[in-house]
C-alpha cells in the first residue's frame, strides 16, 4: 500500500488498516482460543486418562453417590474411567460409509447435471440439489427418525440380511434401524450436494476444445467426460471430498437422532448401533454435570479436543493434497 502512504489520506488510511487488522483479528483469535481453552480445561483429564483414553472402551462416570477419591493426583468418583475408542471407531466408520456412498453419487449427479440436461432442466435440478445443502441438520435427523428408520428397520435391513448375509458385517441381526448404516446414509445425503455442486461447476468450466478434440478422435460423449474431462478435475474432487469428510466427522444432530447412541461397544455389523464423538458430546453433558468432581466435563472437553485435532488434520491434509495436485497440473500444462 505504498500508494496510500503518499496520498493525502495517509492518516485515515493507516488508521483504517489498523482498525481492519484489529477487528479482523477476531478470526485468528477465536480459532486459537478454542483450541487453547479446550486444551487447558481438559488438561486434568488428559493427565488422568493417559493413553487409555483413545485405546479403551470404558466410558464410566463412576458411582455418582459415593465420596470422591483421590487417584493419580486428581479427585474423581470411585470407579470413574474414560475411554472413547468406540467413539473414534464409530466416527471413522460412519464417515467412511458416507463417503463411499456420497462420492459415486455426487460424481454421477454432477456429470448428469453438467452434460446430459438441457439448460432449463439443469438450472432447476441444480437448484434442487443446492436446496439439499441448505436444509438444517436437525431436519435431516427428523426425516431419518420419522421416515428412514421405520423403513430400513422393518423392510430394507431384514431384506439385506437375507440377500447379502454371506458378506461379513452384512448378516444377522438386522437390528432396529438405528445404527451405523443409517447414520452413514443420512450423512452421505448431507454431504453429497457439496461434492455434486463443486464438481458440476468445474465440469462446466472446462474448455470446449477438450471435448471437441475427444469427439474428433471418435470418443462417445461419456468417454469424453470419463477419460478426458474428469481426470483433469481430480484435484477438485479430492478437495471437495476431503472438505465433505470434515463435515461428516463433525456432524452432530442428524447422527444423534439415527445412530442408536451405543455406549462402550464396538459395532460388529453394519446395522449395529454406534455413536460418534460429536453426538456423544451433545448427549452426555447433562449426565457429566452430575459429577461433583468435574472430571467428567473435563473428559468431554478432551473428546472435543480429539475431534478438533482430527478435523484440523483432515483440513490441512486437504489443502496439502490440493496444493500439490494443482502444482502438478500447472506443470503439465506448462
Amino acid at each position: 500500500m505504498t500508494g496510500a502512504r503518499r496520498a493525502p489520506g495517509f492518516g485515515i488510511g493507516m488508521n483504517f488498516r489498523r482498525l481492519m487488522a484489529i477487528l479482523g483479528g477476531s478470526v485468528p483469535v477465536s480459532a486459537v482460543a478454542i483450541v487453547l481453552f479446550l486444551a487447558v480445561y481438559a488438561w486434568p483429564a488428559i493427565r488422568f486418562n493417559g493413553f487409555g483414553f483413545i485405546a479403551s472402551n470404558s466410558w464410566n462416570l463412576g458411582s455418582l453417590y459415593a465420596e470422591p477419591v483421590s487417584q493419580g493426583g486428581a479427585m474423581i468418583l470411585p470407579g470413574a474411567q474414560y475411554g472413547i475408542l468406540f467413539l473414534i471407531v464409530g466416527t471413522l466408520l460412519s464417515t467412511a460409509i458416507a463417503m463411499l456412498i456420497a462420492v459415486p453419487v455426487g460424481v454421477g449427479a454432477a456429470v448428469f447435471l453438467a452434460e446430459a440436461l438441457p439448460g432449463r432442466a439443469r438450472l432447476w435440478l441444480s437448484f434442487l440439489v443446492e436446496m439439499l445443502a441448505a436444509v438444517p441438520s436437525v431436519v435431516f435427523g427428523l426425516w431419518g427418525y420419522a421416515v428412514l428408520i421405520p423403513l430400513l428397520g422393518h423392510y430394507i435391513f431384514p431384506l439385506m440380511t437375507g440377500l447379502l448375509g454371506w458378506i461379513p458385517w452384512f448378516g444377522e441381526p438386522a437390528g432396529s434401524g438405528y445404527g451405523l448404516l443409517t447414520a452413514g446414509l443420512v450423512l452421505s445425503l448431507m454431504i453429497v450436494p457439496l461434492i455434486a455442486a463443486t464438481l458440476r461447476d468445474a465440469i462446466t468450466a472446462q474448455p470446449m476444445y477438450m471435448r471437441e478434440a475427444a469427439a474428433a478422435l471418435g470418443a462417445t460423449r461419456f468417454e469424453t467426460i470419463w477419460k478426458v474431462i474428469l481426470p483433469g478435475l481430480r484435484p477438485v474432487l479430492i478437495g471437495a471430498g476431503i472438505l465433505a469428510t470434515g463435515r461428516a466427522l463433525g456432524e452432530t444432530m442428524a447422527v444423534l437422532m439415527v445412530s442408536g447412541n451405543a455406549l462402550n461397544v464396538l459395532p460388529h455389523s453394519i446395522y449395529a448401533p454406534i455413536s460418534t464423538m460429536a453426538a456423544f458430546i451433545a448427549s452426555q453433558l447433562d449426565s457429566a454435570l452430575q459429577d461433583p468432581t468435574g472430571m467428567a466435563t473435563r473428559a468431554l472437553a478432551e473428546v472435543a479436543l480429539v475431534l478438533c485435532l482430527i478435523a484440523v488434520l483432515v483440513n490441512v491434509l486437504a489443502r496439502l493434497i490440493l496444493a500439490r495436485a494443482t502444482a502438478a497440473t500447472s506443470q503439465q500444462r506448462a
Binding site: M1, A7, M20, I34, A134, W143, V147, T252, M253, A282
Partner: protein
C-alpha cells in the same frame, strides 16, 4: 483367386470386430448415463421426500395459536421459540457483520501481509471445526467460566464465531474480483485506503458480501448443536437479559419434542421444522436472486 478371398475375409472380420467394439462402447456409455441419471434421480427424490415430509406434516400442525402462545410442557405454542430464534439470529448478525467483514477486507486488501495470511489460514481452520466443539467451547468459557449461565450472549457469541469464517471468506472473494485498476484510479485521485475500500471496492462487492451475511443468517436459524449448551431452553419469552437466563429456539423443539411420546409434541416439532426449513430455504433463494441480479447488471 484364393488370396483375394482370404484378404476379403480378413477385412470383413476386422470390420465385424470393429463394429462389435463400437457397439460395446456405445452400450457401456449408455449404461453409464443411466447410472449417472439414477444418482441424480435418487438425490432429487430425497430432497423432495424431506421437504415433502416437513411441508405435509408441518402444514397439518400449523395453528394461529402457535404464534401467540408460549410452550407449556410438551404442548402449547411456539411464540417463545420463534422469538428466541429471531433474537439469537439478530445478535449473531450484529456481531458477525463488523468482525467478519473486517477480516475479509483485511485478507483481501492487504493480501500479501503476514497478518492477512494468518487470517486466511486460521479462517480455513475455523471453518473446519465441528459446531458442537464450538458449542462446548462456549459452555466452558462463557456459560461456566464467565458465569453467564445459559444465555443470549453466550449463544450469540458462539453462533457468531461459527459464522465468522463464512462472512470473511465471501467478503474476501468478492473484493478479490474488483478490478485493480479501479483501486489504482481512486488512489491516484488522492483517496486513502479507507475511502478506496469502503466507497469503491465494497460498493462493487456488496451483492456477494450480502450473500455471505445471508449465509450467516441461515446458519444461525438452522443450527442446533452449538446452542444445546449455550442457549439452554426456556418456556417463556425473552426477558431482555443478555446473561443469566436461558432462551428458547426453534431447532431445539424439533430435536427434543420428536422424541416425546405425545402427538401434541410431534405436531410442535413438525411445525417448528416447517418454520426453520421455510426460513432457511427462503434465505437461500433470496441470496441466489441477489447474485443473479448482480451478475445481470455487470
Amino acid at each position: 483367386m484364393p488370396d483375394a478371398t482370404l484378404a476379403d475375409r480378413a477385412i470383413v472380420m476386422r470390420q465385424a470386430r470393429l463394429h462389435a467394439r463400437i457397439s460395446r462402447r456405445r452400450a457401456v456409455s449408455m449404461l453409464a448415463w443411466v447410472l449417472c441419471g439414477a444418482a441424480l434421480a435418487a438425490l432429487c427424490l430425497s430432497i423432495v421426500w424431506i421437504i415433502g415430509l416437513v411441508l405435509v406434516r408441518g402444514i397439518a400442525a400449523l395453528r394461529p395459536s402457535l404464534f401467540t402462545t408460549v410452550t407449556q410442557g410438551t404442548g402449547g405454542g411456539l411464540l417463545n421459540a420463534i422469538e428466541g430464534t429471531c433474537v439469537l439470529a439478530f445478535g449473531t448478525l450484529l456481531l458477525v457483520i463488523p468482525f467478519g467483514i473486517s477480516a475479509g477486507i483485511y485478507a483481501a486488501e492487504f493480501r500479501s501481509s503476514v497478518w492477512a495470511r494468518v487470517i486466511r489460514f486460521l479462517s480455513d481452520v475455523l471453518v473446519g471445526l465441528p459446531s458442537i466443539v464450538l458449542g462446548y467451547f462456549g459452555y466452558v468459557t462463557m456459560v461456566e467460566g464467565l458465569g453467564w449461565k445459559f444465555s443470549v450472549a453466550a449463544a450469540s457469541i458462539t453462533l457468531a464465531i461459527i459464522c465468522l469464517p463464512y462472512v470473511a471468506r465471501t467478503t474476501e472473494v468478492a473484493l478479490g474480483e474488483v478490478p485493480q485498476s479501479l483501486r489504482e484510479a481512486a488512489y491516484a485521485m488522492g483517496a486513502g485506503a479507507g475511502t478506496v475500500t469502503l466507497r469503491i471496492s465494497m460498493r462493487l462487492a456488496m451483492p456477494a458480501v450480502v450473500t455471505g451475511v445471508l449465509l450467516a443468517l441461515a446458519i444461525s436459524v438452522g443450527e442446533t448443536a452449538p446452542l444445546l449448551y449455550t442457549a439452554g431452553w426456556s418456556n417463556y419469552t425473552w426477558n431482555g437479559h443478555l446473561t443469566g437466563s436461558p432462551i428458547g429456539y426453534l431447532t431445539y423443539v424439533i430435536w427434543a419434542f420428536i422424541n416425546e411420546p405425545f402427538a401434541a409434541a410431534h405436531a410442535l416439532a413438525y411445525a417448528a421444522a416447517l418454520l426453520v426449513t421455510g426460513m432457511v430455504l427462503l434465505i437461500s433463494v433470496a441470496s441466489r436472486m441477489i447474485l443473479l441480479r448482480a451478475q445481470r447488471r455487470m
